[in-house]
Symmetry: C2
Subunit: 293 residues, 2 copies
């Protein structure tokens, strides 16, 4: 650990125009401000090369700590980062499970909640917009989805799982693939709310009604989720708290002068809105009847 | 101007969770990356004290330049900044008109477009959710609103103008005041899209239909505008370009070693969606029939 501090931290994320990361950044800033820190923001657009370039620049300018929310599974950039003697915390996504300081939610549990909700509503043919298999959230949420189906005695049909990436456009494309199947799903669990937004647009363009023709569940509970019409049923995670907890973990490492393997894992909670349950009791902007808000 | 560079710029904004500023930041980052710069992000939450504290910290850590999008009219912090020998650019809001390097849009022209659109649809009792009078965008958009009414021979009724601030909650409160008038407006021009989002929620909570019971126009054309149901008619400004142009202006000053009084002012354009014009031809996510997209 270096001796002289710059009082600068850095947050590395895919894209600040995704509302998930706006909330995360505010959490980091709020958690770091009491320590006198200001925070660099670096966007990778999901590119490993841009992530690596940002990390190299940040180490070169001797930032005091790095919060990384754009990592991949078995990420060479994270493995490199471990040897740079600069405190860091991974947020939301891990690289090698359990190997790094981490703040996130229990993705398997959250995906299981979402899927059990759809099963409980009577859906038997449930699709999954599955992110991508190179990112921990994609792999774990798919695992939770499949576990819930198996526990309910439902088949896991490979054709009902479509890789979507994590943003709107990929969500629309994956939804299109599922809806063009000979037997399309009656409900879909999307790996993120932004993927669900893409699915909304595609479904609406086809003239489908939500939830009567197809039900949709998202993940994260970004502010946009409650503004959609109908409101998006989703899995709530404490986005702002992800950021502030990561900042506190980072500041603790900086103060201690050494890395800690500490992990903070939140329990996600289901928030039920009109995209899965129709009815006048659930206008788009009414308080949720579910937990977690 | 200082001799040694840190290759760090800073962006000071009210709140990154407001989608307007996410797009702005990406523009700055994209404009600054070719020069090898990384960018600090500072949120003020609209507080002059937090803005001043951030600016003092940024000067103390010797950043190479500052982009400020949170300023007030006749802002003491901006007047102080002029004497710090660090390049800066104001974006979207000015402090003393014409006194600083600036990137923004013609707010009077944009507000006039929005108001003329409502007048053209036959509305005679038009309200304005007016931001706040301590910020240039609030003052200029109100001026454009009043100019359009006067040009059409319509009275400017003071009771139809309600200060709203610039975010959702203030928009809802101001809309509530207008709709509780003995003669409420049939249409409303909101100073920003986020204020319009607050007005949507309030109107929907009262069971009002858009646009039949009340028409709404926003300003900025954030991505959320086209996802609302009905889609939000708004004034399009090039948000990402605001950021990249400001970054280029800043890098030019850094390279030249001196401030330039240059101003970049974009022409806003109207985007017509379902919040003002009903009909099956305008689903929420269809391409706009207006200009600017």
């Amino acid at each position: 650990m270096k001796l002289q501090r710059t009082l600068v931290l850095a947050v590395v994320i895919p894209d600040i125009t995704n509302p998930f990361f706006g909330g995360l950044f505010r959490g980091v800033e709020d958690g770091a401000a009491p320590g006198g820190y200001q925070v660099l923001l670096c966007n990778t657009d999901g590119s490993p090369d841009r992530q690596q370039a940002h990390l190299h620049s940040l180490i070169a300018r001797r930032v005091d700590g790095i919060i990384l929310a754009s990592s991949f599974l078995k990420d060479p950039a994270v493995r490199w980062l471990r040897h740079q003697h600069v405190p860091y915390v991974l947020v939301n996504r891990f690289s090698d499970e359990g190997a790094d300081p981490f703040v996130g939610s229990d993705d398997v549990a959250g995906a299981r909640l979402a899927t059990q909700h759809l099963i409980g509503l009577g859906h038997k043919r449930i699709g999954h917009l599955a992110g991508q298999s190179t990112v921990s959230t994609g792999v774990l949420r798919r695992r939770g989805f499949q576990a819930a189906l198996a526990e309910a005695g439902l088949d896991v049909r490979p054709e009902l799982v479509a890789e979507s990436g994590f943003v709107e456009e990929g969500g629309a494309r994956a939804m299109e693939r599922l809806l063009s199947l000979p037997e399309p799903p009656t409900a879909v669990f999307a790996v993120t709310d932004m993927v669900a937004v893409g699915a909304y647009g595609l479904a609406r363009g086809l003239g489908l009604r939500l939830p009567e023709d197809v039900a949709i569940v998202g993940y994260n509970d970004i502010p946009l989720a409650s503004r959609l019409v109908p409101g998006l049923t989703t899995v709530h995670v404490p986005i702002h708290e992800f950021g502030s907890a990561a900042a506190r973990l980072l500041l603790g490492q900086i103060a201690a002068g050494q890395a800690t393997p500490k992990r903070v894992v939140y329990s996600p909670q289901l928030v039920v809105r009109g995209s899965t349950v129709a009815g006048p009791g659930l206008p788009a902007d009414a308080p949720s009847r579910g937990m977690g808000e």
